[in-house]
């Protein structure tokens, strides 16, 4: 347990800057989700905290102590790797036992037995315990990989896209399970994902990384409702935020280059006219693809809308975001 603090951490691999002066505080018991496309520095952040990479500059503290000179084992962190990294020569049970049997933990036998069983049940892999780790499906391997972290009680859990290769149903279940475990045990998590549903549902804090820089850090609501830039705004929200030249609508503020419209920023039935290009009925919501002054806009409408392709719809912005030429938000 304990908070994890990154201060001005930079890391380069040759010419590539992976992390550029990242400062972040992961409070004790927080569930921090890192968002950003491939190459933004999410995985490197985890590896720096884990001790698998040494930052070029900056400091990493766990529970108030700098851990730069500590080995991964001494930092007592648990990590779920994106590539699973199960030990192929061991069975599922042996994989789960592996961290508990380490010289770091030296868990007594009955305790190991109990924890492995408990975690295997939660992750629904208890029927595969005696399988070889290589004789599993991708989803099962990923669950074992999560399990290998969950058997421990580390100062922080680091998870690199842990749910990426599970099917939708299992993913939804494990999302709830992970959140429950975290809420119950008060564990601290640093979690990397591409999936914004995971970010919105599980995170207490969201960190947005852009080319190695941490551009925004706050609660998911905060990042969603007041993004600092176009980049941060496009990280969350489904359908994605619509970005149009600010001049498309009247009364844009001084210096605004781009207007950002989330579905809730678009009032239907008033204002200027556009035409419906496509109606996507997803069941609980219906998406409207509009052609508005030669720009494409995707918004959400009443699930039982009678609108169909070719119909005309009036829209106007409400409380939209404006961004300057550099992409920063104008407030």
């Amino acid at each position: 347990m304990g908070e994890v603090i990154l201060s001005n951490v930079s890391k380069s691999f040759g010419e590539d800057v992976a992390l550029d002066r990242v400062s972040m505080t992961v409070p004790d018991g927080a569930f921090v989700v890192l968002l950003g496309p491939t190459g933004a520095g999410k995985t490197t952040t985890l590896r720096v905290v884990a001790g698998l990479e040494r930052p070029d500059s900056g400091d990493v503290q766990i529970a108030g102590v700098s851990v730069l000179d500590r080995t991964p084992a001494q930092r007592n962190v648990a990590m779920v790797f994106q590539q699973y990294s199960l030990y192929p020569h061991l069975t599922v049970r042996q994989n789960l036992e592996f961290p508990l049997k380490s010289p770091l933990l030296r868990t007594p036998k009955d305790e190991i037995e109990r924890k492995v069983r408990e975690v295997a049940e939660v992750l629904r892999i208890d029927h595969k315990l005696d399988n070889r780790a290589t004789a599993l499906s991708g989803g099962e391997m990923q669950r074992v990989s999560i399990g290998r972290a969950l058997v421990r009680n580390p100062s922080i859990y680091l998870m690199d896209e842990p749910l990426s290769s599970l099917d939708a149903k299992l993913r939804a279940e494990l999302r709830i399970e992970l959140k429950r475990i975290q809420a119950q045990s008060g564990a601290t998590l640093l979690y990397v994902t591409h999936d914004q549903v995971e970010a919105m549902t599980m995170a207490t804090h969201v960190g947005v990384l852009d080319q190695g820089r941490l551009v925004q850090f706050g609660s998911p609501r905060e990042v969603y409702e007041s993004p600092v830039s176009i980049y941060a705004a496009t990280r969350l929200g489904q359908p994605r935020i619509n970005l149009l030249p600010a001049s498309v609508f009247a009364d844009a503020p001084e210096g605004a280059r781009t207007i950002g419209l989330r579905p809730e920023h678009i009032v239907q039935g008033e204002g200027e006219e556009g035409s419906v290009v496509r109606v996507e009925r997803l069941g609980d919501q219906t998406r409207l693809h509009l052609d508005f002054k030669q720009h494409e806009i995707i918004t959400v409408t009443d699930p039982h809308t009678p609108l169909k392709t070719g119909d005309r719809v009036q829209i106007r912005p409400r409380n939209a975001y404006y961004f300057d030429a550099a992409g920063a938000r104008i407030v």
Partner: protein
């Protein structure tokens, strides 16, 4: 011409079968010849045309393990009936056994030197290969090339310097000297082979072990070694085969205490005429340890093949 993978036709299968059979015959023939000769009597062994069907005899094996002397009729008379089965084989040729031969000792020397140098080559090769594979070693490429370059000339080319060096160091005709020599020759092969195998093992496994609370050495021992077992086994087989069969250095550097079997076997010929069955018997027995070693490790090699198939 298409290169798609299709089931071979019956004719292709037949052709492949015949080819394999011919190749098998060519390689097995000398082996079968040696094994058969070991069980012939000296006169059968040199009979022309060669005898394919013959009455098996253990004379070759008895001669291999004993030294004998010709005895006069009176002496034989005075000895009475032969005490053992091997006595009776020897008596038929008017000979008596005077003691054991040196073959046992030489064979044991081969075992000590062969397995000793194999263990050392594989042990040093594994840790060196791991370091080259995982760590930033200064001048890594140059060092690897240097290690490879030690194989660019036949080792025997440096026989004379090594002979002089060993004489100065007192390593001539010692087990240690031969173990060190064979290790030095095998090490380049072992480092290169094992580096290839260890490169194939993803670093993530060790990283996972480091995070799971193990030190780097423990991660190496618990995670890398079991996965490199295939590579280690095949490297060990290569090293053993070289050290076991090596003849030239053995002739040059050993004569007594540390003499291995290869230079000893030809000397049997001289002991009482052209004793081909004894030579053949010595060669046959000499094959056994390498064969057993290979068969024991074969399970490991096969496991490695299926292993790789599932992992990626």
């Amino acid at each position: 011409m298409s290169f798609s993978v299709t089931e071979p036709s019956a004719r292709q299968k037949l052709f492949a079968g015949v080819l394999v059979l011919v190749y098998a015959l060519v390689t097995i023939m000398p082996l079968a010849w040696i094994i058969a000769t070991g069980f012939k009597t000296p006169s059968d062994a040199i009979a022309y045309p060669p005898k394919v069907v013959f009455e098996p005899s253990l004379e070759g094996y008895v001669n291999l393990f004993t030294t004998r002397t010709r005895a006069s009729a009176e002496t034989l008379e005075s000895l009475g009936e032969p005490q053992t089965w091997y006595d009776s084989i020897v008596r038929k040729n008017d000979m008596v056994i005077v003691g054991p031969s040196r073959y046992g000792e030489r064979f044991l020397n081969s075992v000590i030197i062969g397995f000793g140098s194999t263990f050392l080559s594989v042990f040093l090769g594994t840790i060196a290969a791991y370091a080259f594979s995982r760590f930033k070693v200064p001048l890594k490429d140059d060092l690897m090339f240097f290690i490879l370059s030690t194989r660019m000339m036949p080792p025997i080319a440096v026989a004379i310097p090594i002979f002089l060096m060993y004489r100065e160091l007192g390593l001539n005709d010692t087990h240690l000297g031969m173990i060190l020599l064979y290790t030095a020759v095998n090490l380049s092969l072992s480092v290169w082979l094992l580096k290839g195998f260890i490169d194939e093992i993803p670093v993530e496994y060790e990283e996972a072990a480091l995070i799971d609370g193990y030190t780097r050495f423990q991660a190496f021992y618990k995670v890398v070694l079991p996965q490199a077992a295939t590579g280690i086994a095949s490297t060990a087989i290569f090293c053993l085969i070289f050290a076991w069969n090596e003849y030239a250095f053995a002739v040059l550097l050993t004569s007594g205490t540390a003499q291995t079997a290869p230079p000893f076997i030809p000397t049997i010929i001289g002991v009482g005429g052209q004793d081909w069955p004894a030579v053949a018997a010595g060669a046959t027995l000499f094959l056994v340890p390498v064969m057993v070693f290979t068969i024991l490790l074969r399970k490991h090699l096969l496991r490695g093949i299926t292993f790789g198939a599932v992992r990626k």
